[in-house]
Symmetry: C2
């Protein structure tokens, strides 16, 4: 089994670059960090190109030494390529799927969550996990939204990335698709024409757009929605966290 | 105006200790960090014992130099006493309110959120903010739940701490109070007797208990609830984030 201990190793330098969107795009692969995500990928039958593991973790899974695509890495390498402060010491290198950019094979029989310029990785991951729990078909990451494979996004999706379809797209194209399939697209923005979410009788399939944490949805997309919906605020909070609002709307519209 | 530049100053040492629960209890005061929270405290007419401000921030609010309870602090002191990486340079020292331990004057005409051993400060802050938006009367921090005035909890409450009642209590005492007022107490735990939240016709006032992120609610409290409710999971997510679940339940039960 190959062993890599040096931070100067060319592979290590390449893996480190997978923390950036540019690096992932250039190498056409990304990294999963930690047992939970690696196990979820195995469960979902996602092909693992290379498994990187420290000696300490390898002790717990001695069978892994038999596989050709396993590389033993030092704790130092693990710390270097991880985006976490205390990595577990196991990583999977996964080839980027072309399906993420393919809008011709979407399941439009169930709802979609559309993320318009959402910036916080924790919010994004939580929304994907909630969309999974709500039974949505998928989540569309609009241009400007933090990348699907950003390490913190990956981590906070907690395995839900393997349970529903995730795509990168200009949301205009996604709106075209939904509307062509007679699925209404709902914006989440408080304006005089907006309807209270509890008054909406949503069909089996629809699109729900969540906007940027500070600025909300873009004007361009807002102009294309079939309806805008809002959550009535009873107390004195100025707003809801975007992931909380998404959770209330997804479960409120689709049950 | 008094100026404090040294980390060896006794006041600085005391302020630093306000980051810990022990320090807050001993000094019977806590710290608000940043303009947003300080302004929210002023808006809510919360008495500020001392305002600490850097020269840079003082320039933006020259009128403050007139007040006796303002101390100018160096950037180094600001960094030292702040729990954030890049503090804004303004802090308010607030005396702990006795109301936080007083269960004799609760508004029991509206719902309460009860936190049972919740550990993540961000989750707690978000739940308080959501309870505010949902029009709840207050949030009870049960024994074992992270402290109301823990710096990250304060920050993520985003001002909602001044909009509804927050109390520290053994949740058994809170349950006694609610049940004595004919307000049912709902547990959030999936068990064979649990009811789907959409099937619950909640009255104007009730208690909703959210449990620990990993282990859920304690057995002891579960035995005392009037009903247990759950959110049906349609997809393959193992669970919902506790703050998301709380948001769905608060808005689902009370509207």
């Amino acid at each position: 089994m190959e062993k890599i201990n040096s931070l100067q190793n060319a592979h290590v330098k390449a893996w480190k670059k997978l923390q950036t969107k540019k690096g992932r795009k250039q190498q056409e692969q990304y990294l999963l960090d930690g047992w939970h995500l690696v196990n979820e990928a195995v469960k979902a039958k996602v092909a693992i190109k290379t498994l990187l593991i420290t000696a300490k973790q390898l002790e717990t899974k001695p069978d892994l030494t038999k596989f050709p695509a396993v590389i033993e890495i030092s704790e130092e390498v693990a710390s270097h390529i991880s985006a976490t402060v205390t990595p577990q010491g196991v990583f999977a290198v996964i080839v980027l799927s072309e399906r993420e950019d393919d809008l011709t094979q979407l399941d439009l029989s169930r709802p979609w969550l559309l993320l318009d310029n959402v910036q916080d990785p924790g919010n994004i991951g939580t929304m994907v996990r909630t969309a999974d729990a709500a039974g949505f078909a998928g989540v569309a990451f609009g241009t400007g939204t933090v990348d699907i494979h950003q390490p913190k996004v990956e981590r906070s999706m907690q395995g839900s990335q393997f349970h529903l379809q995730l795509i990168n797209t200009d949301l205009n194209v996604m709106i075209d698709q939904l509307q062509a399939a007679n699925a209404p697209v709902y914006g989440s923005e408080l304006n005089p024409q907006a309807a209270q979410y509890l008054d909406i009788d949503a069909p089996a399939s629809f699109g729900l757009i969540m906007g940027n944490e500070g600025n909300g949805m873009s004007r361009e997309l807002l102009a294309r929605t079939d309806k805008n919906i809002y959550i009535p605020i009873k107390g004195r909070a100025e707003s809801l966290n975007v992931a909380i609002a998404a959770g209330i709307l997804m479960f409120g519209l689709y049950h």
